[in-house]
Symmetry: C2
Subunit: 242 residues, 2 copies
């Protein structure tokens, strides 16, 4: 019997990877608009290298890129190498936010699923890794907060996926047993593995992002209990267990 | 003979004080929209106290306010004291930025003045205190950057008003003598005093902000060379010296 359904946020309820890519490119285009000529392709390569090196929560992506551009103007095809970095960092951040705010929206199957589950009476929670303020900002903009009985963000709690203790903590807070809980996520390693380890019913959703095993080609020595490509397929699974 | 005209930014070319006030209140209203009920007046008082205590460049205005709200729910008339701070910090920052982006614009007399001076052939520079990325973001949004031959932001240089060395540095960079330079600002202490001390032609503009001597009632043991209430009056002054 399922008494609670949990969802991951990024790349499960909205296309976080694609949005970040588009926003990062939006920042680069804004820098060009503000007057710095450079090869967009080299800029993209450079920025994405920095994201890989320093992580996506690093707060100086554009600063670091512009420092590298200034040091190696030939590589980036920059004709005026003596430029002011903060001028273009400001432009990059503006462009990034413009694209992000304008384009963030849930995957098309999300609202229908959340409305139906709520109507039937399944309580839902969100369990997401990340910085609380950033994750809550996404939730405000996605306008899906009201569907969740509770929201758990890793940095607020001090536990994070793939630590199974994180899932234990959430279930304890909700007073629900693992066998009564179903968790939907897009990552085999961070969502499915730790949840399975403590007896949670797991659903892997294929969103065709970089962690989707269909895209990465990676194989894992464990399986999700269910695999779906649309949240439209979630309700029959929940009902089948109930 | 005037060979160069310099402008302060905040409260000289746009209404920075009023915009910050409106944006801060916009953030508080967004927090209410997101579900936290509190007395707006107490919220405003609390937030403005924090700005006074920690300064306007402090990056945790809303965090600090929400911590104080949680500690003293009675004062702020909060009915549900057990709330998640990051949820409402995210809302506060969103509301702040929405108001800021939507409402930032130059004072009505600015574009006309900059267009005329540029047409006649007076080179202009900007000398502003503040954080480079924040100041450049304002310039991008105000769309007035193209009027200035150069832009000086204190934190980029490591000198700041009211240090007269800051003005000396800018003039040296521009290869212009103090007697050939005219500086327009709204603050007697930060703009007029240091500029006068090194022989710059000074213009105090009355913008009716909190530092305007007409508003503050403060008297100073020195005077600006000229006082105006609109940039429309600047050109005749420049011409009278030339």
């Amino acid at each position: 019997m399922i008494h609670l359904i949990g969802f991951d946020l990024d790349d499960t309820l909205f296309n976080a990877s694609e949005l970040a890519t588009q926003a990062r490119i939006g920042g680069l285009k804004k820098i060009q608009e503000c007057g710095l000529n450079f090869s967009l392709q080299e800029g993209i390569n450079g920025l994405f290298d920095i994201v890989k090196e320093f992580g996506s929560n690093y707060t100086h992506h554009y600063d670091t890129l512009l420092e590298r551009m200034k040091k190696d103007p030939v590589k980036y095809e920059i004709t005026i190498p003596d430029f002011k970095i903060p001028k273009y960092v400001a432009a990059g951040i503006m462009g990034y936010h413009e694209v992000k705010v304008k384009n963030i929206k849930p995957f098309e199957d999300v609202l229908g699923c959340l409305v139906t589950l709520k109507k039937i009476g399944y309580p839902m929670i969100l369990i997401s890794d990340g910085r609380p303020i950033k994750q809550y900002e996404k939730l405000h903009r996605l306008k899906i907060e009201q569907f969740f009985t509770d929201i758990f963000i890793s940095e607020e709690i001090g536990l994070q996926k793939p630590n199974p203790e994180y899932f234990k903590y959430c279930l304890n807070e909700m007073d629900v047993l693992p066998s009564e809980f179903m968790y939907v996520g897009d990552r085999m390693d961070h969502d499915i593995k730790p949840a399975k380890d403590i007896g949670i019913n797991t659903v892997l959703i294929h969103r065709k992002g970089k962690y989707d095993p269909i895209i990465s080609g990676k194989s894992y020595p464990y399986q999700a209990d269910y695999e779906i490509s649309s949240l439209e397929d979630l309700l029959p699974i929940v009902k089948s267990i109930s």
